[in-house]
């Protein structure tokens, strides 16, 4: 058996779009096979076909050489195919165990035998080094742990062929490294893996072969070891891409934001930010590096006014904004690209034009005497989508919900940058986006810096932090444990600081 999975000439259409057009994918047993493509290239669709969520219009699927008809996920499960979805499919208020056994519950006289299930899961997690607490509730655990739950779901069902759809988008560097390790171990145990990702580095690191698709079409299947990152990238986007973020040296000016002894509690009432001090100047990008859950979210929310400050002081342009209402902060000079674009960034049921004035709708010329001025709104919206290359079906009249994630993000950036705020907060601005979009967003952040704004960048991706920032502050347990010049920072040094060792100590270590 040469191939464990063969998807031959698959075609899948959605109203108005051919998501998969004659795509072929052949996976060898025991390999990690990467599936690479831009946003919207059709990767998730192809995998959904394999997993039985969609029915293809044409093409055939063979599993272990036998032609199969995968009509629903049950069939896929039975064939030993498991999938970790791009957006986790976990029930937020169920325990880890409940999520894993759902649909295949071990019972004892009609009652779920939860103890046995938990024990099985514990054993399974030890076998593969996937540490989880079987009784923890999903919403209380980290994203990384949620992902382990997703993987355990597959293993619990004895999946042989594991599909990972963009598994690293939401993970911290440590978690990514762990995941890579896990994948290798899985392959050693005899599993085969299909890995979907935008991140070339990850492909280079773990994948054996890589299939590239572009705009729904099959491009090529290559051996990863013998193909350079540059080559992969150009196959993916169809042109040359540069990875270096082009920027001049920062010319920092006056202070814009000063945070002193800040204490902020998280939703559970624990001190998430605990005596934090930080300063940012005009004309520089300050990156905050740190493992997820060390107070980044709470810090951003405190600065932008979405969360109450317990103690300490925040000054913007010399003004105390500690207890100011969101609206006043915005007007004083904050632009905010929120981490969660669907929750905070957009009103998905508004038209694009309406979302583009979300911060300014009450001001002239968009509003006059309490009335909306459509002409002015539309004009502005058109100007922004042209300038920021926001693409969508019906232009400014598109329902925002119907737009792709990358374009939604561009719309938010357009709106926030356009107000020329003294301080631009960017919370994970490129999460889940493809290289093209990432490139664009980085360019915009640097442009803003060069215009003399202070940019506060929070990202879980160390590469992004190191490439874009001028200075890097490392956050650990709600405190800034050290600040380093980006140019001089090394990944190893930052990694150690993120793990809690202080600047000094780290120097000593070296």
């Amino acid at each position: 058996m040469e191939y464990i999975i063969e998807m031959l000439n698959i075609r899948k259409e959605f109203p108005g779009i051919v998501a998969n057009d004659n795509i072929t994918l052949q996976v060898k047993p025991g390999e990690i096979h990467a599936l690479l493509g831009e946003n919207g290239a059709g990767k998730s669709t192809l995998m959904s076909v394999l997993f039985g969520l969609y029915k293809p219009e044409a093409g055939e699927i063979r599993v272990r050489g036998k032609r199969v008809n995968i009509t629903d996920p049950n069939v896929a499960n039975a064939l030993g195919i498991g999938m970790v979805h791009q957006h986790f499919k976990l029930v937020h208020n169920f325990t880890v165990t409940e999520n894993i056994i759902l649909g295949q519950e071990p019972t004892e006289r009609g009652r779920i035998n939860i103890k046995k299930a938990a024990k099985d899961i514990k054993k399974l997690s030890e076998t593969y080094g996937l540490e989880v607490d079987p009784y923890a509730i999903i919403e209380d655990i980290t994203v990384g742990m949620q992902q382990r739950v997703e993987i355990l779901k597959m293993l619990y069902r004895n999946a042989e062929i594991l599909i990972f759809d963009e598994p690293t988008a939401a993970l911290t560097p440590q978690e990514i490294a762990e995941l890579m390790e896990i994948m290798r171990r899985l392959v050693e145990e005899g599993k085969s893996i299909i890995l979907i990702t935008h991140k070339l580095k990850e492909i280079k690191e773990v994948a054996d072969r890589c299939t590239i698709i572009r705009r729904g079409k099959y491009i090529d299947t290559v051996d990863v070891a013998t193909t350079s990152e540059e080559k992969l990238a150009s196959l993916m986007v169809g042109r040359e891409v540069s990875f270096k973020v082009e920027k001049d040296k920062a010319k920092p000016r006056e202070n814009v934001l000063r945070i002193s002894d800040l204490v902020v509690r998280d939703s559970r009432g624990l001190k998430a930010v605990d005596g934090l001090n930080l300063e940012i100047n005009a004309g520089e990008i300050l990156g905050i590096a740190g493992v997820d859950g060390n107070g980044q979210t709470e810090l951003l929310e405190a600065i932008s006014g979405l969360r109450k400050v317990e103690e300490g002081k925040i000054e913007l342009l010399g003004k105390d904004i500690t207890n100011m209402h969101v609206r006043n902060r915005t007007e004083t000079g904050i632009g905010h690209i929120p981490q969660d674009r669907h929750k905070h960034g957009l009103v998905l049921d508004f038209k694009l034009s309406e979302n583009l004035i979300l911060q300014t709708y009450y001001k002239e010329p968009y509003s006059k005497n309490g009335l909306l001025n459509d002409a002015a709104i539309n004009e502005k919206a058109q100007e922004l989508i042209d300038e920021f290359d926001v693409r969508s079906g019906q232009g400014i009249n598109t329902m925002t919900r119907a737009m792709s994630g990358g374009n939604q993000q561009k719309a938010i950036i357009a709106r926030e940058v356009d107000r020329s705020p003294a301080l631009l907060i960017a919370g994970q601005p490129t999460r889940g986006l493809d290289v093209g979009a990432i490139e664009f967003i980085h360019k915009k952040l640097i442009e803003e810096r060069d215009k003399g704004r202070a940019v506060l960048l929070v990202s879980l991706e160390l590469d992004e932090i190191m490439n874009v920032s001028d200075r890097i502050a490392v956050i650990f347990e709600g405190k800034i444990v050290g600040i380093v010049e980006a140019e001089k920072a090394t990944e190893r040094q930052l990694g150690l600081m993120m793990a809690g060792s202080t600047h000094d100590k780290e120097e000593g270590d070296m």
Binding site: S304, G305, L306, H325, V326, R327, N328, R329, T330, H336, P338, K343, H344, G345, L346, V347, L348, D349, F350, E354, L358, Q359, Y361, Y362, S367, G370, L371, L372
Partner: protein, 351 residues
């Protein structure tokens, strides 16, 4: 014709129209199954609505409160609250209008606006309670709304009795200067009770559309309704806006109540149970697509069914048939996905 029906642009009103059509077909089928001639039934209905000028006037009278309660429900739905408390707010508004109409006498041009204002304020205040509790304590507005409906019913029954001159069943008549009735309207419709309230319903629909679609305030309310988190992020006062939504919705409900006390009756009555205007409002709002114009039209449609059902009963069709037809119309409106699929299918055939 087929082209018109299948045109994407026209779906917004084709779907409701098809629902109405299918609703009447379903009503006809029920009549047939139960041995009643539907043609006779519908002839009676039409006669009952436009058979003579008086009936025409009564049709409008019946539609007026429905339109306003539809607007009340729709305002809530458009701004993210489910105001099931319209019934109670309507009762409160109905009482307040009557009270102001009874307790003071003023020139009509001041008195009448005062009466309307009182009704709107009473409805708004009764709406404020669930709004405030939702905003402040995260208590579900549906439960509070249901509870406050009963509370309004009983407290208003009590309040009516303590107004000067009231009997245990109703208040005295409202001063001439405070009621909406019009000799002129009544005379052109052959003594119907047609009153100026329909103007208020039209104005209500216009104001509704204007607030929701045209004003900055409406933009904020819709934003909060769709996504409170993003609205907070954008610097809006989410809690305050929830309260405003409920209050404005309640104000529409209060006006609907005024239509009944100072329009239809000219006095306030002790009632033994709900008269269902609030629930009818849900149907009106839903069929009207939660839009000002749509609600006007669906309000008149349901008003026709109500006003005409007595005439149907005269033709020996149980009057409940009107309610059944209403139910089917709402059901078909709910099926708009199915209807759209049907239209899509028609479109394919066409090609």
């Amino acid at each position: 014709m087929l082209k018109f029906i299948t045109d994407e642009k026209n779906q917004r009103f084709i779907v409701p129209l098809v629902s109405v059509f299918l609703g009447f077909i379903a009503g006809a089928i029920i009549m047939m199954i139960t041995g009643i001639n539907p043609i006779e039934g519908y002839r009676a209905l039409i006669k009952g609505v436009v058979g003579n000028p008086r009936r025409f006037g009564e049709w409008i009278v019946a539609s007026t409160p429905l339109i306003l309660s539809g607007l009340a429900i729709a305002f809530g739905l458009r701004t993210g609250v489910f105001n099931i408390g319209v019934e109670g707010q309507l009762i409160a508004g109905s009482f307040a209008a009557a009270a102001v109409g009874i307790l003071i006498e003023l020139p009509r041009f001041i008195h009448l606006p005062m009466v309307m204002l009182a009704a709107a304020i009473a409805g708004a205040l009764w709406g404020l309670i669930p709004g405030f509790l939702k905003a402040k304590f995260k208590v579900h507005e549906v439960v509070v709304g249901i509870m406050l409906n009963y509370t309004a019913l009983h407290l208003v029954n009590y309040a009516i009795k303590i107004l000067p001159g009231s009997t245990n069943t109703k208040t005295v008549d409202i001063f001439e200067s405070a009621n909406l009735s019009s000799k002129f309207l009544s005379s052109i419709t052959k003594h119907s009770r047609l009153h100026w309230g329909f103007i208020i319903a039209f104005l209500g629909a216009l104001i509704f559309w204007y607030i929701i679609e045209r004003t900055t305030f409406g933009y904020e309310l819709r934003s909060v309704g769709f996504n409170p988190h993003a609205s907070e992020y954008a610097g809006m006062k989410v809690e305050r806006n929830i309260v405003y939504s409920m209050m404005i919705s309640g104000a529409f409900a209060g006006l609907a109540g005024a239509m009944i006390s100072v329009g239809t009756f000219n006095y306030a009555r002790v009632i033994g149970g709900f008269e269902g205007y609030g629930l009818d409002g849900i149907a009106v709002a839903l069929l009207g697509n939660n839009g000002g114009l749509g609600i006007l039209i669906s309000g008149f449609l349901f008003g026709a069914l109500k006003a005409g059902s007595s005439a149907m009963a005269l033709a020996k069709v149980p009057k409940e048939i009107a309610e059944i037809i209403m139910a089917f119309i709402v059901l078909f409106a709910a099926m708009n996905y199915g209807i759209k699929r049907l239209i899509l299918y028609l479109r394919k055939e066409e090609k």
